[in-house]
């Protein structure tokens, strides 16, 4: 108080959205961004190329205690820091520009389990859905996914090459039974324990948005004041 060196700065708040695959992280991020007049949204999946330490043998990794901190993604952390410091960044997958905003949303399934992220996270929100719904939604999404043909036309994979699509999906189902299901269960369990807010992903997106906005309001975040 009263220290002249204490420069008051509007520091961005980092909110991490986490939960099972297809729990609705992206949808929630979109709605929140819309509601708060456009936010920076970073997705773990868009940084897959710079991800290090992803297990080659998932079964062994799970059996050996599922050490999530082995996953490193320095590019993602660097980009979050840049945004906090007010510098725009480039989404490595879409190559789109992402501008700083008072709240930075990060979709990251590892929550506070990776040491490089812990310091950066202000709030962790866990979206909870039953495991079978996660599997059903993921496969349904995959089943109806599109690909871009050479001539730039978008086609549904199920119309273009149903055989290949089925083969890929079944390969995943095999892996899911072999190890990925256990990985999701263990990771979610660990991540959820350190969440600041747990919301029910089966509720309507617009209800969830209101719950998150209410939560953020209760935190008395300065940069949010005067938003409305």
């Amino acid at each position: 108080m009263g220290d002249p060196n204490n420069v008051v700065e509007m520091k961005s708040i980092v909110v991490v959205l986490t939960g099972n695959p297809a729990s609705g992280k992206s949808t929630l991020a979109e709605h929140l961004s819309e509601e708060l007049g456009g936010l920076a949204v970073l997705k773990f999946d868009d940084y897959f190329d710079s991800l290090q330490g992803w297990p080659n043998d998932m079964r062994t990794w799970v059996n050996e205690g599922a050490e999530i901190d082995e996953w490193k993604n320095f590019r993602l952390t660097r980009d979050i820091v840049s945004l906090i410091n007010g510098t725009s960044i480039l989404n490595p997958t879409t190559k789109k520009n992402i501008n700083p905003s008072p709240i930075i949303l990060v979709e990251d399934p590892s929550g506070r389990e990776r040491s490089e992220m812990v310091e950066l996270i202000d709030y962790l929100i866990f979206i909870e859905i039953p495991n079978e719904i996660s599997l059903i939604r993921s496969l349904t999404r995959w089943l109806n996914s599109e690909k871009v043909k050479k001539d730039g036309k978008r086609v549904k994979k199920r119309d273009e090459d149903p055989e290949e699509l089925l083969k890929n999906m079944m390969e995943f189902v095999g892996l899911y039974l072999e190890s990925y299901r256990d990985m999701y269960v263990i990771v979610c369990d660990k991540v959820k324990k350190k969440a600041d807010l747990i919301i029910d992903g089966l509720k309507e997106p617009k209800v969830l948005v209101q719950e998150v906005l209410q939560f953020l309001k209760e935190q008395n975040i300065e940069s949010l004041e005067g938003e409305k």
């Binding site: 495991n131 079978e132 599997l135 349904t140 089943l143 149903p162 699509l165 089925l166 899911y176 039974l177």
Partner: protein, 230 residues
């Protein structure tokens, strides 16, 4: 004196591992295996899987009733040989009849015949993944709406995609349905297991628990008899 026979039932969702468990237990205790699925083609109307609200009454309506299964079980328990309707195979009665029945004690025509009901409450995501492996990962694919098997690679991929989708949207595999049915079955089950781990371990556990149960009812009966003598 008629030799007492026991009906041990394995219930649970599609993909929970009922069939494998019934076979394993039957093998381990030299019992007779009886499968609901080998009778379900006799159902006059297919169960309305998307009508979860009415499931309780549905389970006891005629389209869920498999009187032939109840009749055959009665015969087996009385020591008679039966002919299994789907395969035409002769099934001989043994001391233990292991029955696969997704509805446990909840169907009134047959529930009272069951001595010991086990609910295999396997996590539903594992059930679904196993069902998908069974339908699409095996050597053969069953043509939709038939029991006709064709080589997996000869099946029409578009049809396969449609069948795959029906497993996700509740038509062929319905989580809502299994949750409701399991909630009913759970109330009147003698043992609930999670269906995880090796089949050998699960079978061994069920047999051990059943034997304990059998001893306890025999002791109770003996105690009751000695009381009535006093």
């Amino acid at each position: 004196m008629i030799r007492k026979r026991y009906a041990i039932v394995i219930a649970g969702a599609s993909g929970c591992g009922k069939t494998a468990l019934v076979k394993k237990i039957a093998e381990n205790i030299r019992g007779t295996a009886l499968f609901y699925d080998n009778y379900s083609h006799l159902l006059k109307n297919k169960p309305l899987v998307d009508d979860s609200d009415n499931l309780e009454s549905q389970m006891n309506q005629k389209h869920y009733i498999l009187s032939r299964l109840a009749e055959d079980l009665k015969l087996l328990l009385a020591g008679e040989t039966i002919i299994e309707p789907l395969t035409g195979e002769e099934i001989r009665p043994r001391k233990y009849i292991i029955v696969e029945d997704p509805h446990g004690r909840e169907r009134h025509d047959i529930g009272h015949l069951y001595d010991y009901v086990v609910l295999e409450d396997t996590p539903l995501e594992i059930c679904l993944a196993r069902v998908l492996m069974r339908v699409f990962g095996g050597k053969y694919f069953m043509k939709e709406g038939t029991r006709e098997l064709i080589a997996q690679e000869k099946a029409d991929p578009k049809e396969k995609i449609t069948v795959f989708e029906k497993h996700l949207n509740g038509q062929y595999w319905s989580r809502e349905n299994y949750i409701i049915v399991n909630n009913y079955v759970r109330k009147n089950a003698d043992l609930i297991i999670d269906g995880l781990g090796s089949i050998e371990d699960i079978a061994e556990l069920v047999i051990r628990k059943f034997k304990k149960f059998k001893t306890s009812i025999t002791t109770k009966k003996m105690k009751g008899e000695s009381k009535s003598l006093l």
